[in-house]
Amino acid sequence: MDTATQRKWDAASRNFDFFSYGDDLRLGPHKQRLFAKMRGETLMLAAGTGNDFRFFPPGHSIIAIDISPKMLERAAKKAAAYHGRIDLRQMDACQLEFPDNTFDTILTVCTFCSVPKPVAALRELYRVLKPSGQILMFEHVRSRIGPVGMFLDLMTPLSRRLGPDLNRDTVGNVQKAGFRIRREENIYLDIIKAIEGVKNPSTSR
């Protein structure tokens, strides 16, 4: 378990809901549209305080993991309010305690801005996803617009201390891990994106 990351997100859990209030209101409909594609056995990575549970379609059985026990404590109430079943577990994204080919769908929301080894974690997700399984991601990435990209590079050393990196190439990382991009949609500029990836049907792990 990466204890440094765990401590950082334990600390961030105190103000997490406050800082994400506007984003949840504004981006909620986009998340709802993406999550509607959820099917079968589902894993949610980095559940946080459970703010995104309300955007899940009802009636699913979902395993939601997070590295931070403090985040999961806050998520428990929101998981109980979901019309379906959400099983919360503490786990490191780079060391998933699931066998190969377990899930049909994997969800991530603003996760790969924060995971210290993004490609390693994505390879781990690839492992636990069934062949032809899908990964649905709602992520922010580095902008390709010159001054905006430079600004995100400039701000990252500061933002990293409190939480996420702002300049990750998550689409590239998804492809490096072996996924095929099925859909990529810009939600806000070219920074906030909905990314859909698929595991090759002939790959067993």
Partner: protein
């Protein structure tokens, strides 16, 4: 709709506060290069503080991205103007121009967002 209004109000606030803080620090006759650097630094500081404060209301990126452009470029422009004592003779006028600059930047970001929004890759599966 409310978020759009919020974006414009936030941009106008960042622009006005940047203009105010630059006017407080840069004096007429100050070396223009130094005035522009000071203006940019002040603008970045203003954008950080106000962006973090406004982010929980209108969304972090929607607050921070326009605010960074307003702070960085607005700070430089206002620094240049104030070092030359060109236009905006009163503090209120300087702040009004700052607010106008903020609104124009937000409109530009909205326009660019509209142009970029939507599917970049869609295999149709």
């Amino acid at each position: 709709m409310f978020f759009t209004i919020g974006d414009y109000l936030a941009g106008m606030l960042v622009g006005a506060v940047t203009a105010l803080s630059v006017r407080m620090v840069v004096w007429p006759g100050m070396d223009m290069v130094i005035a522009m650097i000071v203006g940019m630094a002040l603008g970045m500081l203003v954008h950080l503080i106000l962006g973090l404060g406004l982010g929980p209301l209108i969304g972090m990126f929607e607050a921070m991205i326009p605010a960074s452009l307003i702070g960085m470029y607005g700070g430089m422009f206002f620094g240049m103007r104030d070092s030359m004592a060109a236009g905006s003779r009163t503090l209120q006028a300087a702040m009004a121009v700052g607010a106008l600059f903020g609104a124009i930047v937000v409109a530009g970001v909205h326009f660019y967002d509209r142009a970029l929004r939507g599917a970049v890759v869609d295999t149709g599966e």
